[in-house]
């Protein structure tokens, strides 16, 4: 086990239960590395996960306190949890594309509206892969899956004119970024920034599924082919070229520009509480 795994992860869960060649571990490693470089310890972070590949395979990997919530609801759970835990604790979530942009989207928007502190890594394997490979809300146009056998023809949410990150920005998110799992040091640097925002941070990371997406969409389970397919369709923001689907980098950074939800609640409730205590005493 490497240094990071030994320091932050549970030996019982490492190596993880993810499929061979899955890109999930690369994202988690970048996130844990960012945590380490910022000097956070195991007790500084509560790690939450959800349903699907991203949730199940990362649940209980973190050595400290952790939970797996119901499908799409961790963003709601977090708003309650934040009010009860010590304010200095950070919430870090690894969730899937279906969880964040499908079933949980309403709660995600309200977490953004309230600017509740949570660093969310949306680990996007381009559809519902743990159920066998159905299309999702970010599945690229034309791609065949088990539930889009004629090619994905519904509009998805990763388009210049209809980007889920734009919706989240309008909804009040204070840090938004997009990457592919092969972005290495750039992904780590983004996670570091996301973690330093005392508010709602979301990093959308595309990663390769070698089992279902690879087989259904690309006709191969060879990891190298799937990695290449994603990499060819990604480019840093400002360096776009023909055929790029995923522009990578920081989309919006208004870190620490407005009050975090639980901080605001503590402040307001504190004021009212003190006022009534004084009135009671007088």
């Amino acid at each position: 086990m490497d240094y990071l795994a030994e320091k932050y992860l549970r030996p019982r869960k490492i190596p993880s239960t993810a499929c061979s060649g899955c890109g999930l571990g690369v994202i988690q490693k970048a996130l844990v590395k960012a945590i380490d470089e910022l000097g956070y310890g195991v007790s500084d972070i509560i790690w939450g996960t959800s349903i699907g590949c991203a949730g199940r395979q990362t649940f209980a990997t973190w050595k400290g306190d952790g939970f797996a919530g119901t499908h799409g609801r961790v963003y709601a759970i977090a708003r309650g949890l934040r009010l009860a835990i010590p304010p200095e604790k950070k919430l870090v979530f690894t969730v899937g594309d279906g969880d964040a942009f499908g079933i949980g989207f309403n709660h995600l928007l309200h977490a953004a509206r309230t600017n509740t502190q949570m660093t969310i890594a949306v680990c996007d394997n381009l559809g519902y892969q743990s159920t066998g490979g159905q299309f999702g809300w970010t599945t690229p146009s034309g791609v065949k899956t088990d539930s889009s056998p004629y090619g994905m023809f519904e509009p998805n949410w990763v388009r210049d004119d209809m980007d889920v990150l734009h919706i989240l920005r309008e909804a009040g998110a204070t840090f938004l970024a997009r990457h592919v799992s092969m972005d290495g040091p750039r992904l780590e640097a983004t996670f570091k920034k996301a973690l330093q925002n005392n508010g709602f941070s979301l990093v959308h990371v595309i990663y390769p599924c070698t089992t279902n997406f690879g087989n259904n969409a690309l006709g191969t389970r060879r990891a190298v082919d799937i990695f290449r397919w994603i990499k060819e369709r990604a480019a840093p923001l400002g360096e776009e070229r023909e055929g790029v689907i995923w522009k990578t980098g920081i989309y919006y950074d208004a870190s620490n520009s407005r009050p975090e939800f639980s901080e605001l609640m503590r402040e307001k409730v504190g004021e009212i509480h003190r006022r009534y205590q004084n009135e009671g005493a007088s």
């Binding site: 309650g80 949890l81 309200h110 307001k268």
Partner: protein, 390 residues
């Protein structure tokens, strides 16, 4: 002791705050809105939080989330919102997180009649989520004063049993104005029989052993215990696993930690059960008040009638139905829900009948007419459990 002429909603709010509730998460819905309104006003005064959420699913998830952080929390709704609690209910039951949920029943199905009482969620509160393999605690008040008492009791039981406790009220209880006494001193609280339990913190990192024991501290995050909880079948350490052995241990704990401690949970009111009743009227919630009057008045006229009012609805108090008699279940629904449990629990050679109304209460005269018919062996008209067609 302070006396008020106030609503059940007010009484419930007072009970929650006295019990130590410091987080309320709600979504406006008739007839439980006033609880949210009162909480938004009162909780900050005692350093507590009120959060209004985007829907009821979120409301209960926030409540469970804050409870998982160590806070005593509550949420309240009516039928259409209650159905959206299904998701977080399962999570709270499975992760064994204490909190209090109130459902003020109106008339269904769906939105039905918003401002009238119903009793259509008797079974829904027993099975508030999918999958089975759990037991639930459900308490049903029949007055504002009792709603106060049972709110405090619900918080107490939720802590000791590590589970959501449900208060099943109805529109007349929450909206109705009544004479309410709220205790102020410890002596007054004790005299009223109020019980309190503080939140304890699970030492972690293991989850729970396969035992029916209560009073094990629940998982609380944020104390660096390495505690885990999830929606999957847990190992004893809290890791997710897909084996029937682990699932059996988990289900055993969820079911028997409650079933094996009925003495702590069971509450009921009975009348004339030891005085040879030929008819036993059964009801809970608001209609039980009419039933009680009808039974007392009928006794004055020499009619041999008794009454059973389960206050703890679930686990269902089978032992209250061990007498052979003609049972009459009086409910605020037309489909007959409580009656099915009565039929199951009563001795095989007993008769079991049903009288249903909805959106309005039965009258004493109606009930007397029914007692009369039952004693003469005449069929009950229209509102029929095993009677003629509609």
């Amino acid at each position: 002791m302070k006396r008020y002429l106030e609503t059940g909603n007010f009484a419930i709010t007072q009970g929650a705050i006295i019990a130590g509730c410091r987080g309320f998460f709600g979504y406006p819905i008739t007839p439980a809105t006033e609880i949210a309104e009162a909480m938004s006003r009162l909780l900050p005064q005692v350093g507590g939080y009120y959060v209004q959420t985007e829907d009821e699913t979120a409301a209960m998830h926030l409540a469970v989330g804050a409870a998982l952080g160590g806070m005593k929390t509550m949420t309240a709704t009516s039928g259409p919102g209650y159905i959206l609690y299904a998701d977080p209910y399962g999570w709270a039951i499975g992760c064994e997180i204490p909190l209090v949920v109130l459902n003020s029943q109106r008339v269904g199905p769906v939105s039905g009649i918003t401002g009238a009482p119903g009793q259509g969620e008797f079974y829904l509160t027993r099975y508030p989520t999918q999958g089975g393999n759990f037991e639930t605690i459900v308490l049903a008040p029949n007055s504002a004063q009792e709603a106060f008492f049972l709110t405090v009791e619900a918080f107490y039981l939720s802590e000791r049993f590590r589970t959501p406790v449900t208060i099943l009220a109805d529109q007349l209880i929450t909206d109705g104005w009544e004479d309410i006494s709220i205790p102020e001193t410890d002596e007054e609280k004790e005299a009223m029989g109020l019980r309190f339990a503080e939140r304890k913190v699970h030492p972690g990192p293991e989850f729970y052993p396969p035992t029916d024991e209560i009073d094990l501290p629940p998982v609380v995050l944020g104390h660096n215990t390495g505690a885990l909880c999830s929606d999957w079948t847990p190992t004893e350490e809290g890791y997710d696993i897909e084996t029937v052995e682990a699932q059996h241990k988990h289900a055993y704990r969820l079911i028997y930690k409650i079933r094996n401690h009925m003495d702590l949970i069971s509450r009921y009111e009975t009348l004339f059960l030891d005085d040879d009743p030929e008819i036993i009227a059964v009801s809970f919630g608001t209609p039980s008040r009419v039933v009680k009057t009808a039974v007392k008045k009928a006794r004055e006229k020499g009619v041999k009638v008794g009454m059973v009012r389960p206050i703890t609805l679930w686990p269902f108090p089978d032992d209250l139905f061990n007498k052979k008699a003609i049972y009459l279940s009086v409910e605020l629904n037309y489909d007959g829900q409580l009656v099915r449990e009565v039929q199951r629990a009563a001795p095989c050679d007993s008769e079991v009948h049903f009288f249903g109304k909805c959106g309005e209460l039965p009258t004493v005269a109606e009930l007397h007419d029914l007692f009369d018919k039952l004693l003469k062996g005449e069929p009950l008209k229209r509102q029929g459990w095993e009677t003629e067609a509609w």
